[in-house]
């Protein structure tokens, strides 16, 4: 199964993830801070965050790269997953909040809530929250996708209404009356499953978990795109109506990957929240979703590994550029990076690399085939 699923890039990717999942926690916990090999906790948190972003990018690549659904609102599913996890973490605070209310989170006391709103019930249980992490984004994606795909909303129209979706959610979550902490969102978490979220061990565990989630989702995506379903998706991307005339129910296929991708984004959000310590409506901002799409484009659309790589590179660039003397100019660098990547590497980093390899191979083949006068072979 796995052998069929993974190409060489995939193997490298999975190996790196496994190595990171083992080495990073060891270097973080088992080495002394003065040792040159030591990885400081903040770096672990940072890497963990990148992993979550990579997972988000992966989920976008699945629908955009393979099914041609450009969602400019995928941040919404990420944020919803994050909120589900955040609600669990809030409920875990218990009486340790400033107002020491047994059930109500601080912001509710603050806003004069007398009792817990109904949609907060159950979030004190981890399994429930974990379920919601998948279910809430999945359900929203299902309803939204069902409506949109059935009415054959495609292309930019779809992109723009996904944007409208996340924008509407952002405005909603910004409202204090909404019951999710308004602009401040959810923060000041204490425990997850009884472990202190700040503790080094917990952080390492969350990091490993993120590696596992990313690796698992990657395998899942690979399995999908290498199956016949993957070919159907590409068919849908390139000539949707032709697919219909072949008898494929296009909307079911789209709905399937869309919901799956939303769930993956939800998982990414859920892992993200305990690692960065806050979830707020800013995550719904359309610009966040657009940025996530850009990670995919930078890494290479339709390559999966590229999506993850793009998320890493762009965010790493962001982290480095926003500190020190570069700080006032970092937007120049980031903007420049995007322009240069599009101009010089239209297929994204991984895509360009693959193209280059394929082209070299084709040239070699062509050179070999030449004497026999075979039919000219196309690239790729």
């Amino acid at each position: 199964m796995i052998t069929r699923t993974l190409d060489r890039g995939g193997w490298i990717f999975i190996s790196i993830l496994i190595a990171a999942a083992i080495i990073v926690p060891i270097l973080n916990i088992a080495t002394s801070p003065s040792s040159p090999l030591h990885i400081p906790s903040y770096a672990v948190a940072l890497l963990g965050k990148y992993l979550c972003y990579a997972l988000l990018a992966l989920s976008i690549d699945l629908i955009w790269g393979y099914a041609g659904i450009l969602s400019l609102g995928h941040g919404a599913f990420f944020a919803l997953g994050g909120y589900a996890m955040g609600m669990y973490l809030m409920r875990q605070i218990g009486t340790r909040g400033v107002y020491a209310h047994p059930t109500l989170p601080d912001f509710m006391v603050f806003l004069n809530y007398k009792q817990l709103p109904w949609f907060w019930y159950g979030f004190d249980m981890f399994w429930f929250a974990a379920l919601m992490v998948l279910l809430v984004p999945g359900l929203l994606a299902f309803v939204f996708g069902w409506l949109a795909f059935r009415s054959r909303v495609t292309g930019v129209y779809l992109s723009i209404i996904t944007q409208a979706l996340t924008y509407a959610l952002m405005l909603g979550f910004f409202r204090n009356d909404f019951g999710f902490g308004g602009n401040n969102g959810l923060t000041d978490f204490k425990d997850i499953l009884g472990f202190n979220v700040q503790a080094q061990g917990t952080r390492a565990a969350l990091f490993v978990l993120s590696c596992v989630a990313l690796g698992g989702c990657f395998l899942l995506c690979r399995a999908i795109v290498t199956s016949k379903l993957g070919k159907v998706l590409i068919g849908v991307r390139d000539a949707e109506s032709r697919m219909r005339f072949l008898g494929y129910r296009v909307e079911s296929y789209k709905l399937f990957v869309f919901v799956l991708s939303a769930m993956m984004a939800g998982v990414a959000g859920a892992l993200y929240v305990p690692q960065v310590g806050i979830i707020n409506p800013g995550e719904f901002a359309p610009s966040n979703s657009i940025e996530a799409v850009i990670w995919v484009a930078v890494g290479g659309r339709g390559t999966l590994t590229g999506a993850a790589l793009g998320a890493f590179i762009v965010n790493y660039a962001k982290t480095t550029f926003t500190s020190g003397f570069l700080a006032p100019y970092w937007l120049f660098m980031l903007g420049g990076l995007f322009v240069i990547v599009t101009l010089l590497m239209p297929r994204g980093i991984v895509g360009t690399f693959r193209h280059w390899v394929a082209q070299r191979k084709a040239k070699k083949d062509a050179a070999k085939a030449e004497p026999n006068g075979a039919q000219p072979q196309a690239a790729e």
Binding site: Q359, A362, A366, Q375, P376, Q377, A378, A379, E380
Partner: protein, 231 residues
């Protein structure tokens, strides 16, 4: 008038033309024949500049034009009717015709009467959008549009494809008319042998990216031609 000299053309690593040479003369119809995928369209794309060539040269009116951009070649008088018609789908028929004004002087900016004489259906459909026309109507529009440019040379890529028999005859008459009256050079890519055979002054048969057989009407050996085609 237009001459290709051992033109090479690549799509990425794949070579589609291998040292193709051909000549189109004013007042002559040059037919290019060949099976599917042998490079006929590629040759026309090389001549019009849509695909850069990787070797050889193209000479038009005594000047090398292989470096010129497509619009510059069009302005010098090379008109192109592509395979698949490529009418502007959202422009009306009338506007489609008017796009041919670009290389013209202001005084010449009108649609010549003969366009409507040749394709009366266009006159009936002036307000309809190009993309809404039926396949055959689009083909007629594409030829008509090329004529608006008053070209010196007309490159036609399978103009009979999808056209009803009576109009094929009309197109045939039109081509002859343009050759004889306007002294236009015409390059005709065709699969429909009888049509080409009837019109052509020169013939070139292509296979796998090269010209494998060529002859003129006078020294034509129909058997050899058919044989070259059948490989």
């Amino acid at each position: 008038m237009l001459e290709a000299r051992s033109v090479n053309l690549h799509y990425g690593a794949a070579q589609a033309l291998r040292g193709v040479s051909m000549v189109a003369e004013a007042g002559k119809i040059t037919c290019i024949l060949g099976r599917n995928g042998v490079g006929k369209t590629s040759l026309l794309r090389a001549l019009t500049g849509h695909q850069p060539i990787s070797g050889g040269s193209i000479v038009f009116d005594g000047q090398e034009i292989e470096r010129l951009r497509p619009y510059e070649r069009a302005r010098r008088g090379i008109a192109y009717v592509p395979q698949g018609r490529d009418v502007f789908p959202l422009l009306t028929v009338e506007e489609n015709l008017h796009t041919g004004y670009a290389p013209l002087k202001r005084a010449q900016r009108y649609v010549p009467e003969e366009v409507f004489d040749l394709f009366p259906v266009l006159a009936d459909m002036m307000r309809r959008r190009g993309g809404d026309l039926s396949g055959g109507q689009q083909q007629q529009l594409a030829i008509g549009r090329a004529l608006v440019m008053r070209p010196k040379i007309l490159l036609l890529d399978e103009p009979t494809e999808g056209i009803q028999p009576s109009i094929i005859k009309d197109i045939g008459r039109a081509i002859t008319y343009l050759r004889d009256t306007a002294k236009m050079a015409i390059v005709l890519v065709e699969q429909y042998f009888d049509f080409a055979h009837e019109l052509g002054d020169r013939f070139a048969v292509m296979d796998r990216g090269s010209v494998v057989f060529s002859c003129g009407r006078d020294d034509m050996d129909e058997g050899a031609l058919r044989r070259a085609l059948a490989i």
